[in-house]
């Protein structure tokens, strides 16, 4: 199942790459968050998940949004079969909740993220993520920010090394 989505994502990437315009200077700031994610092989699973959750249109909108984007290595840390399970149509709500937990409203650049040390930031999902600056690294919950400030037309991407999982709502 995961393979099928990766193939779909790869196809989407080829299609999108063909329509990208050359940019002077920045290289990412004239594209949306989705276009930039599609343009990087490190976000293949994320892009596949965003498509399965039906969030492409939202994350291509005006925003602005701050997206903490997990890498392929981050998804690989999840128990085997988790992604394949999440992208099933019957689990769409759960997938949307996880993905929107990675999105904070507004364009929050790294210099502003680090000011939130010890504080929490409210996500689009409704829950909050904790920000920590320790020993020269910035963490969002337990995920380390490995690259920051990929400026996009409708926000900014910060790359993280672990998938963020919201706390399950009590019934």
């Amino acid at each position: 199942m995961k393979k099928a989505f990766l193939a779909l994502a790869a196809g989407f990437m080829v299609l999108a790459a063909g329509t990208q315009s050359a940019t002077a200077g920045c290289g990412t700031c004239d594209k949306t968050i989705v276009e930039n994610a599609v343009g990087s092989k490190d976000f293949a699973t994320l892009v596949a998940a965003v498509k399965a959750a039906g969030l492409v249109e939202t994350l291509s909108g005006d925003g602005p949004f701050t997206v903490f984007a997990p890498t392929e290595a981050a998804f690989a840390k999840l128990p085997k079969g988790t992604v394949a399970e999440l992208v099933k149509p019957e689990n769409k709500d759960k997938l949307v909740a996880i993905l929107t937990y990675h999105v904070v409203p507004g364009k929050v650049m790294a210099k502003d993220v680090v000011k939130l040390d010890g504080k929490k930031a409210k996500t689009v999902q409704g829950g909050s993520v904790g920000v920590k600056v320790k020993d020269g690294t910035v963490s969002i919950n337990k995920a380390k920010v490995v690259k920051a400030d990929i400026a996009c037309k409708n926000g900014v991407i910060h790359v993280i090394d672990t998938v963020l999982l919201p706390k399950a709502k009590k019934k």
Binding site: G25, M109, K111, V114, D117, G118, V133, K134, G136, D149
Partner: protein
């Protein structure tokens, strides 16, 4: 009486000179910065628009780096003025060829005896940064701008032993030729504009004896978070004041 008046006149003019020099050098939050060659974990390749006093209009500078990192140090028996002054240096990949120009600059090492420099094109863009340790980082000290480092063509060596209290502890280093003049520059990066706060504040960069300076710096600048691995201490920036462009 006449000689007394003359002495007073000489004293007054000297005092005036010192006062005006001090005022001219008064804004910068840092007197000396050591400059260390670094290798970044993430190589930034990015274009920004800049305009210094030597540019008639804003121009796109294609940057790559950081290639150097600098931080405030104590020197000449002066304690470090702001230990929070950090700068990341980016190589300008598309330097605009500038005509050679003669400028007068007063710096803390050469003093008033040798103010004239001939400068050429800009080789680096220098951006203030913050060091990431634990907790929210300290703010960038006021008065630090973005600078463009222009090559100096005719700088004569100062052949001075300078006591520096920096990466290598407290010790004397041999200072040689002036190699760059760092002039403040406006910058436009995405939707942010960085203004020049003090147009006459500048730095003269001198060669020093190369020494190993192996350490890691986690920094945050206008391009995001980066880990910089230091290798060698190469240069020292000395606070200076721009007096005039003699080519005009």
């Amino acid at each position: 009486m006449n000689s007394c008046l003359r002495s007073f006149g000489v004293f007054a003019s000297l005092f005036g000179c010192v006062l005006s020099s001090t005022a001219a050098l008064g804004h910068s939050p840092v007197d000396f910065l050591e400059v260390i060659r670094v290798k970044p974990a993430q190589v930034i390749e990015h274009g920004v628009e800049t305009r210094s006093r030597f540019d008639s209009r804003k121009k796109e500078s294609k940057l790559e780096g950081p290639t150097y990192f600098s931080r405030g140090v104590g020197a000449m028996k002066r304690a470090v003025k702001s230990p929070r002054a950090y700068m990341n240096w980016f190589t300008i990949k598309n330097p605009t060829q500038q005509p050679k120009r003669q400028v007068d600059v007063l710096d803390m090492v050469r003093g008033g005896n040798s103010k004239q420099l001939q400068i050429g094109s800009a080789a680096f863009l220098i951006s203030p940064s913050q060091q990431l340790t634990s907790g929210a980082p300290d703010e960038i000290p006021e008065g630090l701008d973005i600078y463009k480092a222009y090559e100096i063509h005719d700088g004569s060596s100062v052949d001075l032993k300078l006591d520096i209290d920096g990466s290598l502890g407290n010790g004397k280093v041999s200072v040689g030729k002036p190699i760059y003049l760092c002039m403040s520059s406006e910058e436009w990066h995405h939707d942010e504009t960085f203004a020049v706060t003090h147009p006459n504040d500048c730095f003269v960069v001198y060669e020093i004896e190369e020494q190993p300076a192996v350490s890691t710096f986690n920094t945050i600048d206008q391009f995001g978070i980066n880990e910089l691995k230091g290798s060698t201490l190469r240069w020292i920036c000395v606070r200076a004041a721009f007096l005039r462009d003699k080519s005009k």
